[in-house]
Point group: C2
Chain length 180, copies 2
C-alpha cells in the first residue's frame, strides 16, 4: 500500500483578481485526489472558508493551510519529497517519461502551481518543471490534468468519507442525497 | 479525415466575480483543441480581448463570439450537432460509454460549461449531461479534462499555425522563440 501524500502549493495569487481562480485551484486539488493545499498569507480568508465548507459538506480529509514563507517551505520539502512545478515553459507532460519517474517514486509530492508571475527560484528548486502543453491556459486546468494523469483517472471515482451529501449521477437534472 | 468541429459555450457568467474564470475557460478551450468559444452578452469585453490577444500571439484559428440568446442558440445547435453539458450532477465520465458514443459520432459538438447557476432547461436540451467526477470543483478543470479525454491527450502536442512566439520546452527556466 502506498502511503505517499500529494499536496498542492498555489503561489502568485493576486488578491481580489484571483479570488475565484485560487478557490478553483483548491477545489480541484481536493476533487482530483490531493491531500491538501498550501496558500500564501495574502490569500483572502474567504477562499480558505469556501474550500473548508466544501470539505465539510462533501467529505474527505483535505487540509488547507497558509504559509508565511512559501519558498522556504519548498526548500524544506525537498528534504523529504519531490517538487513538481507546473509551468507552460516546462517539458510537455505528453512525453510520459517524467510522469513515469514521478509515479514510480515513493516520496511525497508537492505540486506547485503559479499564475502569471512565479519567482525564478522555483524553476530551480523544482525537481520537475512540467508543462501541461506549452500554450497559455490556466493553472486550474494544469492541476486537474496533472492529477488526472497521475492517478490514471481513478480519482474521479474516489469516495470521500464523512460526506454529508452526495450526488446520484443522473442523465438529466440534479439528484442529491443527504447522507447524514 | 474528420472535419467535425467542437465549440464551447460558457454560460452563467457573473460579471466581475467570474472575470478570470471565464478567461481561463476560453484559454483552456483554445489550448485543448476546441475551435471556438461562445459567451453571453454580459461577459466583459476585456475577457474577449484577452483571449483574442492570446490567439494573435500564440496562433491558431480560434473564434470568440458573444450570443444574444444562448439558450436559443443551443436549441438551434441540436439541428446540426450534439450538445454536451458538463455538470457535477451528470453521469460520470469515468464510465467511458458516453465518451465513446460522442467520439464515434461525426456531428459537430457544443460543449456547454456553466458556473453555479445553470438554467434547468439546459439539462433537458443536452444530449449528454456529463460529470467530470461528481464532486464540486471548477468548470475550467471540467472542460480541460473533457477535451483531454476527447482528444486522447493528443491536443497537448498540437501545432498552432500563425504563432508569433512559441515556447521551447525546457527543464529549467523560460525559453521563448520569436517565430515571425
Amino acid at each position: 500500500m502506498n502511503l505517499r501524500r500529494i499536496y498542492v502549493l498555489r503561489i502568485g495569487h493576486r488578491p481580489v483578481r484571483d479570488h475565484r481562480v485560487t478557490t478553483h485551484v483548491g477545489l480541484v486539488a481536493r476533487a482530483f485526489g490531493a491531500d491538501g493545499l498550501f496558500l500564501e498569507e495574502k490569500v483572502e480568508d474567504s477562499v480558505v472558508q469556501t474550500i473548508r465548507k466544501v470539505c465539510y459538506t462533501w467529505g474527505g480529509d483535505f487540509k488547507v493551510e497558509k504559509l508565511k514563507d512559501p519558498i522556504n517551505f519548498v526548500r524544506e520539502w525537498k528534504n523529504k519529497g519531490i517538487v513538481v512545478h507546473l509551468t507552460m515553459y516546462g517539458l510537455n507532460i505528453a512525453d510520459e517519461s517524467m510522469l513515469n519517474l514521478i509515479k514510480s517514486s515513493e516520496r511525497d509530492i508537492l505540486v506547485v502551481v503559479g499564475g502569471e508571475k512565479v519567482p525564478r527560484i522555483l524553476y530551480d528548486l523544482a525537481d520537475y518543471n512540467i508543462a501541461i502543453g506549452n500554450q497559455p491556459h490556466s493553472e486550474v486546468a494544469a492541476l486537474a490534468i496533472f492529477l488526472d494523469r497521475f492517478f490514471d483517472g481513478r480519482e474521479l471515482l474516489r469516495n470521500f468519507p464523512g460526506a454529508r451529501v452526495r450526488i446520484i449521477p443522473s442523465s438529466r437534472g440534479k439528484k442529491i442525497q443527504r447522507v447524514m
